[in-house]
Amino acid sequence: MISIKNLHASIEDKEILKGIDLEVKAGEVHAIMGPNGSGKSTLASVLAGREDYEITEGSVTFENEDLLELSPEERAQKGIFLAFQYPVEIPGVSTTNFLKTAINQVREARGQKALDAVHFLKLMKEKMKLVDIDQALLSRSLNEGFSGGEKKRNEIFQMAMLEPKLAVLDETDSGLDIDALKIVADGVNTLKTKDTATIVVTHYQRLLEYIVPDYVHVLYQGRIVKSGDKSLAFELEEKGYDWIKEEVAAI
């Protein structure tokens, strides 16, 4: 589904990603772990098309298309979804209104007819049940005054509504208590199909107890320095990141 080759990215002339290689197929869940400042969130942002970053080398192919040529909205329209670490507040715009605009623009880009109010509401109802979110929250200004848990749950609800092919969850577990974490993870698991893929970016192993990855990659100093199956996550939880750092230093 997505193929990342030798990806280098800088911000203000500082190189953050120094040659990432990653291959994600449909139906797979990949976890990207690593210590703070290793470039995890940068990778998520680069995939979503954030313009602050300059791609200096490498390629990203999504469904046989050069992803790096596409604008952020085109990437979204083609099925890439980023659940933000810090969801942004938009005062005066309800989640409902926001999503209606988003969905219809995505549909338009795909040559589909816009959803009318009736079908949109039907879809909303269906997805609300799926991620167990309250109607009242969706009528409020997007993310404004939301608790950490409400923000993250709202991200997952948006994901449910937009039905992406590739979901990138950027530190979705940060700031969540265990109950909220479970709800978010349940949502992600429910939405997972054999045709979709998920990249979970996280510092801690605990989210991976609920969203079980097929592959775990350790990102350190802008490179993937170790890959393995879910047991790697447990190992990291137990031993921390220092042994990885030492291994890298030894090379």
Partner: protein, 481 residues
Amino acid sequence: MSTDEQILEEFTSKEYEHGWSVDFEADEAPLGINDDIIRFISAKKEEPEWLLEWRLKAFKQWQKMTEPNWANVKYPKVDYQSIRYYSAPKQDKKPKSLDEVDPELLKTFERLGISLQEQKRLTGVAVDAVIDSVSVATTFKEKLSELGVIFCSFSEAVHEHPELIKKYLGSVVPANDNYFAALNSAVFSDGSFCYIPKGVRCPMELSTYFRINAANTGQFERTLIVAEDDSYVSYLEGCTAPQRDENQLHAAVVEIYAAKNAEVKYSTVQNWYPGDKNGKGGIYNFVTKRGICAGDHSKISWTQVETGSAVTWKYPSCILKGDNSIGEFYSVAVTNNHQQADTGTKMIHLGKNTRSRIVSKGISAGKSQNSYRGQVEIMKRAENARNFSQCDSLLMGDKCGAHTFPYIDIKNKSAQVEHEATTSKIGEDQIFYCQQRGIDEETAVALIVGGFAKEVMNKLPMEFAVEARKLLALTLEGSVG
């Protein structure tokens, strides 16, 4: 179709949409202003002697006044002798119905999206359309007259209802009130008159469309609204002007009189040509709008969405004379490129238990300057007066400016006055967030700005709100990135 979709659909054209002009055979006054020009205008309109005298007196006063320069706007001095003060579309006889109206004129309305036919049939809005200062078609008059509501052009009112005009003209905005009001009083060409008799709730929104057509024509319309005891009216005013390189002057006066228990809601969507990207051309919009809550428990509410004009100087105000009367001002002012706006309101509390509420949302983009100027005055006799003011500014980019000048003057200790102000910037984070959900940048800006202005937009009558949201989006096109 939802509002959002409509905005989206019409989101593609970058140029000023209403930038075209239609050739009518104009019936014009020579350039400049003097006693003779005023006599010419008055004669053209077959006015009674007293009105001519009133005009001439205003002109005399205007000559002694100097153009105000306290507003936070800069523009080259207006040469008042190079303006044409009267220009009427030529018509052989007055039309009795729409069928008799010049088809070119009707086309003009259609391009503006206000086909009278459509409006008549679909929305039930009575439109008194003013092109280049003379009313050409008035609809629904008969239906309104059954209720005793008078809604007609100002010129017609002068002939048909002289006693009302004589009584109320200049009663809220005296001819010598300020420089531009005095100029208007001397040369006003037409406008609208609206009278709601005692106890009548006007069953439809009354709407006037203004449009400046001929080049070098100043438009000086006058609107007078009188609401008698226990009456209600909602009045809409929309403005557009064709695109021209030279600056055109627009100096209107609006007067509202609300008697006991009367309520007047006045909504404006102003979209005068703002000039091009380099600040060339555009309308100077120097307008005096004022209402008086003369009777107890009366209410006047101003709602404005200002997206146009090169320079705006405008402060819709309320004089709260009656006890328990209420004044409201809801405003969204958008400036882009080189536009300058100095706008706000005055709330003058004279009566007991009077209340006023001010909600101002300023949006600045490009190299524009957007100022809120408000005055809240609590007079000695105004026991327990209350005011709440909220001024929010939204900045787009780092070359524009937002300014707030709130003046508060309290002469009664029982007053409660609150003022809140915020300034924020449209963040790249907000735009990126929208884009990541598949929303393009222009739509994202429209969405964010719409959210910011929501509280005011919600005060607009439905059919106006749609247009206003479209205008907001169009005005801000291309202003990010």
